[in-house]
């Protein structure tokens, strides 16, 4: 009895000591994440008027949400485009970064140079830089997107496919540019695979191709999940994201702008979380049957 009591007091002391290190973060989380989140939710249920003295809230229930979903044609369209573009970009980024990581995992002369090149975009990717490059046509696959044959081909596609294909053609390099961190994460994952497994497989007469599918790919499952989630979040937070720009443009509407923008922000966050969960369910490591 006394023993369990001393142990409890010991654990309490350890917790008090430990939480001291977390104290600034806990305060910050309350002040700069939890409280603003709750406040934004309240805005989203209100008509917010900006006055000289401050802001005035009038509760209007879910009207901002219904407006975004059923009255505003732009928001829903942008949201659908965002989901489609993300669904296209994420597999491209994952496959590309995995291929590059497989290349860079082999020792060869000049490997460091290529690694430097493939990581470079992480350093320079900011919204305005990207938007300048896109505006000048520097991000489309060279000479492909604008050629007459391709334009004719795209215009023949059914409407549902046309926009995604056009997006793919005009921002192909841009999509690849989001692979920098993912390449390094894959490299780290590759280096964790035990060398002996490959040697054993080689002794058993497995080809490099078989080793990739039977050893490398299964070992990278967790890494792929991490990379996929990281990719989705980065793409969704990028300041050139059209949904973000649209939401931001509505904040400064004098009448009801803040409330409406808040509602859209929550819908957007829900879409993002849904995407994350869907990705996780698709890619999660499955138990062998």
């Amino acid at each position: 009895m006394a023993n369990s009591r001393t142990r409890w007091r010991f654990r309490l002391r350890e917790n008090l000591q430990g939480y001291r290190f977390l104290l600034p973060w806990l305060i910050g989380f309350t002040l700069f994440t939890a409280a603003p989140l709750a406040q934004t939710f309240q805005y989203s249920l209100s008509n917010v008027k900006v006055a000289v003295t401050g802001i005035e809230l009038t509760a209007i229930g879910w009207q901002n949400y219904t407006r975004a979903l059923f009255t505003d044609p732009t928001f829903v369209q942008l949201l659908v485009e965002y989901v489609i573009e993300t669904a296209i970009s994420v597999p491209i980024i994952l496959i590309f970064s995995m291929i590059i990581a497989l290349f860079l995992n082999v020792p060869f002369w000049g490997r460091a140079i290529f690694r430097t090149i493939f990581f470079l975009p992480v350093v320079i990717t900011s919204g305005p830089v990207i938007s300048e490059l896109v505006a000048q046509g520097a991000t489309s696959a060279p000479q492909v997107a604008s050629s007459a044959a391709v334009t004719a081909f795209v215009s023949q596609l059914p409407a549902l496919l046309r926009e995604p294909v056009r997006y793919l053609l005009t921002s192909f390099i841009l999509i690849l540019w989001f692979s920098g961190v993912q390449i390094l994460i894959y490299l780290a994952g590759l280096q964790k695979i035990d060398r002996f497994v490959y040697e054993a497989a080689a002794v058993d007469g497995a080809s490099a191709w078989e080793m990739f599918w039977k050893i490398t790919l299964p070992s990278l499952t967790t890494t792929t999940v991490i990379n996929a989630l990281y990719t989705i979040i980065t793409l969704s937070h990028f300041s050139e994201n059209k949904v973000i720009k649209y939401i931001h443009s509505r904040i400064y509407d004098v009448e009801g702008g803040i409330g409406y923008a808040s509602a859209m922000a929550f819908l957007y966050a829900l879409a993002l979380i849904a995407l994350l969960i869907a990705t996780f369910l698709v890619l999660r490591p499955r138990a062998k049957d």
Binding site: N15, G18, F21, L22, P24, W25, I27, G28, F29, L31, T33, P36, L37, Q39, T40, Y43, G54, F103, G110, F114, F118, F119, L120, V122, V123, I124, S126, G127, P128, V129, E132, L133, A135, Q136, A138, T139, A141, I173, L176, L184, I185, A188, G189, Q191, T223, I233, S236, H237, S239, I244, I247, H248, I258, A261, S262, M264, A265, F266, Y268, L272
Partner: protein, 309 residues
């Protein structure tokens, strides 16, 4: 004899077990160089175009090699960006919150790694949540509060959240430090405790010296991410402090103010070459830092445990 020669040739061209020959090697280089070219295409495009004179821009023959080394675009872009002042502001805006952010994230990562805390899964969930929640979901009340406190356009609007562990992408830095401190041997900590060291003392004298790489990595990445961040900076700093990306975002407008299109001749109007020069000047400082410190950038992530275990 014939047979031997053939074997030798085969070994050189195709390679033997774990020593690839000429063919696979050149194939590897060809693929990597091709991908590398596509990858760097936007940068090459930008660099080439920024040196084109107005005459070169109009000349359809000039694609990749400008006829002269024309620096006029850079002179204009330099003035439009108000370069030195903006650069100085950008350095402050990226470095100052970073220092606070890194220190606090180290504390949090240490607390999570070294103590058996109640509710630790919940804490991790909340930290992950701060990474997932889009900034729009929290930024409006913060902006209104800052306006009320008269902090809009002031560096404190970024410093306060960073000092409380809510800086930009803080979750990643917490994770880096968490991974780093997990690997600290417990025996070291217990020995210090027997010698009467306090908890903070252990953190300061035992944990910190081993965490120098984690600090460098976090510092570098935090600076880069703050530098390139434009959503938060536009909302919080606009009107008070201009960073390079912010100034680039309103390049057209700023150019019009300096060189009104009704006042200057046609060659001094805003063209894509000037815009490319402005873009290049914006990324130049980071490019330079990157090539100096590239080893730290690239090797660090592999070691820092960002890959997650």
């Amino acid at each position: 004899m014939r047979r031997l020669q053939f074997d030798y040739l085969r070994r050189v061209v195709w390679g033997v077990h774990n020593r690839p020959g000429l063919l696979p090697t050149s194939l590897l280089y060809a693929i990597l160089i091709a991908i590398g070219f596509v990858y760097l295409y936007p940068l090459l495009f930008m660099a080439v175009n920024s040196f084109k004179s107005p005459a070169d821009l109009l000349n359809p023959m000039v694609q990749w090699v400008p006829t002269e080394l024309y620096l006029g675009n850079y002179q204009k872009a330099y003035r439009v960006l108000n370069y030195l002042d903006t650069l100085r502001a950008t350095i402050v805006v990226s470095a100052a919150p970073t220092v606070l952010q890194v220190v606090v994230c180290a504390l949090v990562g240490y607390g999570l790694a070294r103590y058996r805390l109640w509710g630790k899964p919940l804490l991790f969930a909340l930290i992950f949540a701060t990474f997932v929640i889009p900034p729009q979901n929290t930024i409006i009340p913060q902006m209104l509060n800052y306006r009320y406190l008269n902090l809009l356009g002031n560096i404190w609007a970024l410093l306060i959240p960073a000092a409380l562990g809510q800086g930009f992408k803080s979750a990643i830095f917490i994770l880096i430090f968490y991974q780093n401190f997990l690997s600290l041997p417990r025996a070291l900590e217990e020995a210090a405790r027997l010698d009467g060291a306090s908890d903070l003392g252990i953190f300061w004298r035992i944990a910190l010296p081993g965490a120098v790489p984690a600090f460098i990595v976090s510092f570098i990445f935090s600076v880069v991410w703050y530098w390139n961040e434009t959503y938060l900076t536009t909302v919080f700093l606009e009107g008070g402090i201009q960073t390079l990306p912010m100034q680039l975002a309103k390049f057209t407008q700023a150019y019009e103010n300096l060189y009104p299109s009704s006042m200057v001749n046609i060659f001094d109007r805003l063209n894509e070459a000037v815009k490319m020069s402005g873009t290049f000047l914006t990324i130049l400082p980071l490019l330079v830092i990157y090539f100096i410190l590239q080893r730290w950038f690239v090797e660090s992530i592999e070691r820092s445990g960002l890959a997650g275990e």
